[in-house]
């Protein structure tokens, strides 16, 4: 009767087991890389807009405050896109005939909204609130990046749940003074942790509560 197992059967089995184990690890690593990649999360994406609006020009070049256009941001969940009127408050005086602004003028003339494309698009089961983040001391650039250096607005953060939680678990390094909220070039100082923790204590911000599911999901 012939041998059932080949002399190398043991070796093959061991190799197969190592390959399986290694493959699993590789799969997880690859999966992590893939789901964390900019391609998947959309970081760096800059959807085409009907008007090539440049934050760089308006913020860095002209020094317009964020709240001139996003005027609801301190009061409500969404920062609010400016109505066409806000654009025209300047552009009825300057660049009145610029071809790139034709859609803005058409919007006003025909009373039809401009169809901007969302750059930061959260899933529908996530309830983000701008106002409460500003109140807590999270400034614009923490999530939106250096908008003042963006000729075309791009998504600066991965917007994954892990990224959200990294701050909800430990907000202290990101919390600013109210005066600095809209500063684009804000950098944490050496005493940031103390300042951040003092702010948390004053406002009663507790990471334990921030990590609750129902903080963002309802």
């Amino acid at each position: 009767m012939a041998q059932i197992f080949h002399p190398g059967a043991d070796t093959r089995l061991r190799l197969a087991m190592v390959a399986l184990g290694g493959g699993l690890v590789l799969l997880f690593v690859a999966g992590d890389r893939f789901f964390g990649s900019d391609w998947f999360t959309g970081r760096g994406d800059h959807p085409a807009q009907p008007v090539p609006f440049s934050h760089q020009h308006h913020v860095a070049g002209l020094g317009i405050d964020c709240r001139y256009c996003h005027d609801q941001v301190e009061r409500t969940a969404t920062a609010g896109y400016p109505p066409t009127y806000t654009c025209m408050s300047c552009h009825s005086q300057i660049w009145t005939g610029a071809p790139v602004l034709a859609p803005v003028r058409a919007s006003l003339a025909h009373d039809e909204p401009i169809r901007w494309q969302k750059v930061y698009d959260l899933p529908d089961f996530v309830y983000f609130d701008h106002a409460i983040h500003l109140k807590g001391g999270v400034g614009c650039s923490t999530c939106h990046g250096r908008v003042d250096r963006m000729p075309i607005t791009a998504q600066a953060a991965p917007l994954t749940m892990g990224w959200c939680l990294s701050c909800h678990r430990d907000p202290a390094p990101h919390l600013r003074d109210p005066a600095d909220l809209f500063a684009m070039d804000w950098q944490p100082g050496p005493d940031q942790r103390q300042k951040g923790e003092a702010r948390m204590a004053r406002l009663g911000i507790e990471p334990a509560r921030l990590q609750n599911c129902y903080t963002c999901h309802r």
Binding site: P47, D121, N212, C213, Y214, H217
Partner: protein, 979 residues
């Protein structure tokens, strides 16, 4: 149930008697413990019992579902566009913040004052107007459903001519041409059929129209109207009056088939008054309201009564006559003979009424003959109740009998060819006219017919022209509540489907096609309200000081009142009632209301013929058998429902079903009781026969679903007594460490002594939390999605049981089994004591539901929330996730309101208080039976209620420490076996 009737009923009774201690039962099948019923109970979700399949089929299905399970989570979906406004929205609230408008929706012409919550210009939820005396924040179930009615894609979308789509321009042209003819002879032969209304503007417009066309005749018809009560007022006092009960001033109420607490225009008003008195009585030690009811078919009023007597509907006149003879001084007709039993309770009620002179009330159903009601009104007047428990005022509804003809007169004139043109405003007589009138045959003799309504309904199908009306939430109008207080209705959204308001249509009839509803309504109020007062009235939701003027010094007219001849004793009596969920059929196309379990039967999507267990046993009928009722030459076929507490020889038929043209939701279901109705005796037919046809009809009821293993779910306590603690309640040990709730601990206490089972909370929850409807088939599978259910229990003899209601939301247990059971940690505990459900984590194992002892979790089997048409999605509350399929969901204590309040408090630098949040169910409750708040705050209502001697929890022996608890119902005798 077949075989010998006596034996079967005896068997049911024996089954109950064999129990040790008290036992509450939900249905007759449950007492009989039929095998089919046991199967339904055994399955976690009734419909998930596996089909007769082999092992391999099951494995195959499992493999496929595992493969499919992950798919919905993949992909990011299409990119979103953002459309900011063009104009500067400086005056507008931010788009993601709700804005509330004080307005009203109407029901049978009466206003139901609401605050309409709108997001970005679309109304999503109606709250009762807390400042309005007739609402105080509460509404009924119909009002909650008005939002879905607004977005109904089956609503009429354009004018039609002979069934073909036309436009408003053509319609206006046709009207102008028709008017030219009418003006030639002063409107001779022109008829206007309206539903009675309370709108001062509508009245002003019609009266102006009659100036133009003096020969125009007006007819009014309401299928479930109160014209018999108006006639009774005229009989008793010799003048038209609006009559209203003030239950808050009543110590004793004797209701003879008057469903005070049941659905109807006055439900909220009555519930507010009754509950204020009942709660005040029990809590403050004052005299509680006593409610005695005699009725043929069980109602919510009967369920809440201190004593309930079952009498045939045809016996009510005799009871009233005897009461009148016992109490009244003059003018009472000769008292007929009563049985010994009837004499007993009637004389005790009479002496109670006499003892509480001035704070008693004798209420007789509005469907009883006018003479009978007039007799009762006279008794009330003689006992000095006018102006105290019975309020009389100038009429609120218009047109009354003085100003308008009846439907019968209209049909007679149409049949005789005396009508040249007919305009039907809002009404739907082709469906709602009693069958013996043969309305449609007469209608077709009219050469020019126009119908205006929300839907292209049956009447629209018989008219040349049909015009779409705008919904009350999309138009300017005005209306009055039952007490006469006027509300200006303001639109919350532009007409979605191109309808025009009824005022614009009347203006069109009056030759002014350009009038806009806002100006028309403003003109009505110009004299009374200057611009500031107008704005104030809009802001607060009513015009102060417009309550109907009370009529003092009413003298009962001395003329003797004779009773109508009693029907024969032979055969059965058929009583006809509006359906508790879809009323007279006007709500037939509203899926929320179709799927709302009817208060006592928990039936959905159907109407049935209610028969008593005795009659069922006698005739060999069982629930679900199709039976034929014959009465003279009229016939009605419908499925039977064996109803405990029904009078032995009374069959109840419900209106509102059997619609032929309304929309995809409501047509073609149930039987049409209007066709069976007689115009002379619209509410009661005597001498009928019932027989089984041999057919069966599948009925979808939620009654056997979600049963808890609790032997005393509803507890009773004698007045002034405390509940005796159950021994197992002391054993609250747990293996798990205790949570501490340092800040807020949310809790809910539901007072079963006040819950009238009206279902308003169920629909408020559905509207607030984006709970989808699932349809009749899915209900039959046990898959209803209501987060909050109202259980109905029976106690005692199946022929004459007591009824109890118990709303059951999530218990938010402190030691929640669901949290332990979830393999992916989607059921989590929050620091304020909620059992949160994380939809995006849930993979749909349904373990939590099988672990839940209260059966409050709901699984979304299919894409139930996917709207049939895009416009329907507009009713979704943007603050709440719309759940996808494969996800478990349940009551969240309205977590979105808590989150909102928490953020608002933080923005305003103040701590969150328990009183900042109220759940949708608690807000809407017309009896304030549901209380919600912070248990840690000793001064809060819930904390105080938890210290009540009536306080208890469900299944306390499990030691799960539910956060939703109950207050026992107060009953004279307390619990059976109680000391």
């Amino acid at each position: 149930m077949t075989g010998r009737p006596e034996r079967e009923i005896a068997a049911l009774r024996a089954q109950l008697q064999g129990e040790r201690g008290p036992r509450l039962w939900r249905s007759l099948e449950e007492i009989a413990e039929s095998p089919a019923f046991a199967r339904v109970l055994g399955a976690e979700f009734g419909g998930f019992a596996l089909p007769e399949a082999g092992r391999r089929d099951v494995l195959r299905a499992m493999a496929a579902s595992i493969l499919l399970a992950g798919l919905p989570g993949c992909g990011k979906g299409p990119p979103d566009a953002v459309l900011p406004r063009v104009a500067d929205p400086a005056d507008d609230p931010p788009p993601d913040r709700p804005r509330q408008y004080a307005t009203a929706v109407t029901f049978e012409g009466f206003a139901r004052p609401v605050l309409a919550t709108t997001y970005a210009g679309r109304p999503v939820k109606l709250e009762g107007n807390p400042d309005h005396p007739a609402s105080r924040g509460a509404t009924d179930a119909f009002t909650q459903a008005a939002v879905l009615e607004l977005y109904d894609p089956d609503r009429s979308q354009s004018p039609t001519l002979l069934g073909k789509e036309s436009g408003w321009d053509q319609a206006v042209q046709a009207m102008v041409t028709a008017r030219r003819d009418w003006l030639r002879n002063g409107g001779e032969g022109v008829r206007l059929l309206v539903e009675p209304t309370t709108s001062p503007t509508f009245r002003r417009q019609i009266e102006a129209l009659r100036q133009q066309l003096p020969q125009l005749r007006l007819h009014a018809f309401e299928p479930v109207g109160k014209e018999r009560r108006e006639a009774a007022a005229r009989l008793a006092f010799g003048r038209p009056l609006a009559l209203r009960y003030a239950l808050e001033h009543a110590a004793v109420v004797v209701s003879l088939e008057d469903d005070l607490l049941g659905p109807g225009p006055a439900q909220v008003d009555h519930a507010l008054g009754w509950s204020a008195r009942r709660r005040g009585g029990h809590d403050a030690g004052a005299e509680a309201i006593r409610l005695h009811v005699a009725e043929s078919t069980p109602t919510l009023t009967g369920a809440m009564a201190d004593t309930r007597r079952i009498v045939p509907s045809a016996r009510i006149p005799a009871l009233v006559a005897v009461l009148a003879a016992a109490l009244g001084r003059d003018g009472a007709p000769a008292a007929p003979e009563l049985s010994a039993d009837e004499r007993g309770f009637v004389s005790s009620w009479a002496s109670e009424l006499r003892a509480h002179r001035g704070e008693a009330l004798l209420a007789v159903g509005a469907h009883q003959p006018p003479e009978v009601q007039a007799l009762a009104l006279r008794v009330n007047a003689q006992l000095g109740q006018l102006g105290r428990t019975l309020l009389a005022s100038e009429p609120v509804v218009w047109p009354g009998a003085e100003a308008a003809g009846t439907l019968q007169e209209l049909v007679a004139d149409m049949a005789a060819g005396r009508v040249q043109a007919l305009v039907v405003l809002g009404a739907n007589p082709a469906y709602t006219a009693p069958g013996d009138l043969d309305f449609t045959a007469a209608l077709q003799k009219v050469p020019w017919r126009l119908h205006a309504g929300l839907h292209r309904d049956e009447t629209a199908g018989f008219c040349h022209w049909h015009l779409p009306l705008a919904h009350p939430l999309e138009s300017w109008s005005d209306a009055r509540t039952v007490d006469g207080t006027a509300t200006i209705l303001q639109p919350t959204v532009r007409p979605l489907f191109g309808g025009r308001s009824v005022h614009e249509v009347v203006a069109l009839l009056a030759g002014d096609p350009w009038a806009r509803d806002r100006e028309i309504v403003r003109a009505t109020w110009r004299d009374r309200l200057d611009d500031d007062a107008w704005r104030a009235a809009l802001r607060q939701g009513f015009v102060p000081g417009t309550a109907a003027a009370p009529v003092g010094d009413l003298a009962p007219s001395p003329a003797p009142i004779g009773l109508p001849p009693a029907g024969g004793d032979r055969g059965l009596e058929v009583v006809i009632r509006p359906d508790p969920s879809i009323w007279d059929g006007r709500f037939a196309n509203c899926a929320w209301l179709q799927e709302l379990p009817k208060p006592l039967t928990k039936l959905t999507w159907d109407n049935v013929l209610l028969v008593s267990p005795a009659l069922a046993a006698e005739r060999g009928l069982a629930t679900g058998d199709v039976a034929r009722i014959t009465l003279g030459d009229r016939e009605l076929r419908g499925p039977v429902w064996v109803q405990p507490g029904q009078a032995a020889h009374t069959v109840t038929a419900h209106l509102g079903y059997g619609r032929k043209r309304i929309g995809r939701v409501g047509q073609g279901i149930g039987y049409d009781a209007y066709a069976f109705r007689a115009s002379t005796k619209p509410w009661l037919g005597t001498g009928a026969e019932i027989a089984a046809t041999g057919d069966r009809h599948e009925l979808a009821t939620t009654q056997p679903h979600h049963r808890m293993d609790e032997y005393r779910p509803v507890r009773l306590v004698a007045p002034g007594k405390a509940l005796e603690a159950r021994p197992e309640e002391e054993n609250q040990a747990s293996l798990y460490p205790d949570w501490d709730y340092p800040e807020i601990a949310w809790a809910m206490v539901i007072d079963l002594d006040l819950c009238i089972g009206c279902n308003a909370c169920v629909l408020a929850c559905q509207a607030e939390n984006n709970v989808p409807s699932v349809g009749k088939h899915e209900i039959g599978m046990g898959r209803e999605m209501h987060w909050l259910r109202v259980d109905a229990y029976h106690d005692g003899d199946p022929l004459d049981p007591s009824f109890y209601f118990q709303p059951v939301p999530c218990m938010h247990c402190e030691k929640a089994p669901c949290e332990v059971g979830c393999p992916v940690n989607a059921a989590v505990h929050t620091p304020d004591g909620l059992n949160a459900q994380v939809y995006n984590r849930c993979v749909g194992t349904r373990t939590c539901s099988s672990y839940c002892p209260y059966k409050v979790r709901r699984f979304n089997w299919f894409e139930y929330a996917k709207p049939a048409e895009p416009i329907v999605a507009a009713h979704y509350n943007p603050e709440v996730t719309v759940r996808a399929r494969g996800v478990m969901e349940k009551c969240t204590y309205c977590i979105q309101r808590i989150a909102r309040a928490r953020i608002d408090a933080a923005l305003e630098d103040r701590p969150l208080k328990g009183s900042d949040v109220i759940t949708a169910c608690a807000a809407v409750c017309p009896t304030t039976a549901i209380r919600f708040g912070d248990r840690n705050d000793g001064a809060s209502e819930v904390a105080r209620a938890q210290k009540s001697p009536r306080h208890y929890g469900l299944l306390e022996e499990l030691g799960v420490r539910p956060r939703t608890t109950y207050l026992a119902r107060i009953a004279d005798q307390g619990e059976k076996g109680e000391g």
